[in-house]
């Protein structure tokens, strides 16, 4: 299935896009999305281990299942305040 991943801040700059479409297996989890991201955009490889991920605007762990309708966020280390 195809999923969409929103990219922010450094991740967006490195990828050159605010959103990437990725092919993952049905029943894929965040861990698979990260692997697909690293393949599609190898330049993100150095940053990904430090990124958190969200589904539908809530933080989730690597084992969380994604669907084609999930709003997936790739969230580099935050620096608000």
């Amino acid at each position: 299935m195809m999923v969409q991943v929103l990219l922010f801040a450094q991740a967006r700059e490195i990828a050159g896009h605010p959103m990437l479409h990725l092919e993952v297996r049905n029943g894929a989890v965040i861990r698979d999305v990260k692997a697909a991201l690293a393949v599609t955009c190898p330049e993100l490889g150095g940053l990904l281990p430090y990124c958190m991920f969200s589904i539908d605007q809530c933080y989730v762990g690597d084992g969380e299942v994604v669907t084609a309708n999930s709003e997936i966020g790739c969230i580099p280390p935050v620096s608000g305040g």
């Binding site: 922010f8 450094q10 430090y50 605007q57 809530c58 620096s79 608000g80």
Partner: protein, 146 residues
């Protein structure tokens, strides 16, 4: 039921709105924190900071933190306003206001909220320095990168 004021804004932060939002006749303590852009950090000069956020999720995380703080410290009011876009030196990027019957709860809750906002709310800043160089600010301990 305490309803927090949660706001992401592109404009100057209205600190009086933050204080007004937490005013309560049974709160003897009102605490307002303003995080402002420093012109100098040690020797290094900042021309401006540029903030961006994950729209929607930033507000959700701020709301979640507010609810947790209200429950833990029995607050009378909470307001969190984060500015995005360009924030020049001396202007505020973050306002956190809390109120409570006594001051200890305000100080503990205020301090905790700021720590948590900086830790989890999806907001990012870039610094533009005197030489016009732009770089993302990321806490060293989170990336291992300098």
């Amino acid at each position: 039921m305490v309803k927090p004021l949660i706001q992401i804004t592109k404009f100057e932060i209205d600190k009086n709105a933050a204080l007004a939002a937490v005013a309560d006749h049974n709160a003897g303590s009102n605490l307002l924190f303003l995080g402002t852009t420093r012109q100098f950090t040690d020797e290094s000069e900042t021309l401006e900071l540029r903030y961006e956020c994950y729209p929607g999720m930033a507000e959700r995380e701020m709301t979640r933190l507010s609810s947790a703080a209200i429950a833990q410290w029995n607050l009378s009011g909470v307001a969190i306003i984060h500015r995005i876009g360009i924030v020049p030196p001396g202007q505020a990027s973050l306002a956190v206001a809390v109120s409570s019957p006594h001051r200890q709860a305000s100080f503990q809750a205020g301090s905790w909220l700021i720590d948590e906002i900086k830790r989890v709310v999806p907001v990012w800043k870039q610094e533009i320095d005197r030489q016009g160089n732009t770089h993302w600010i990321h806490p060293v301990e989170k990336t291992g990168l300098s």
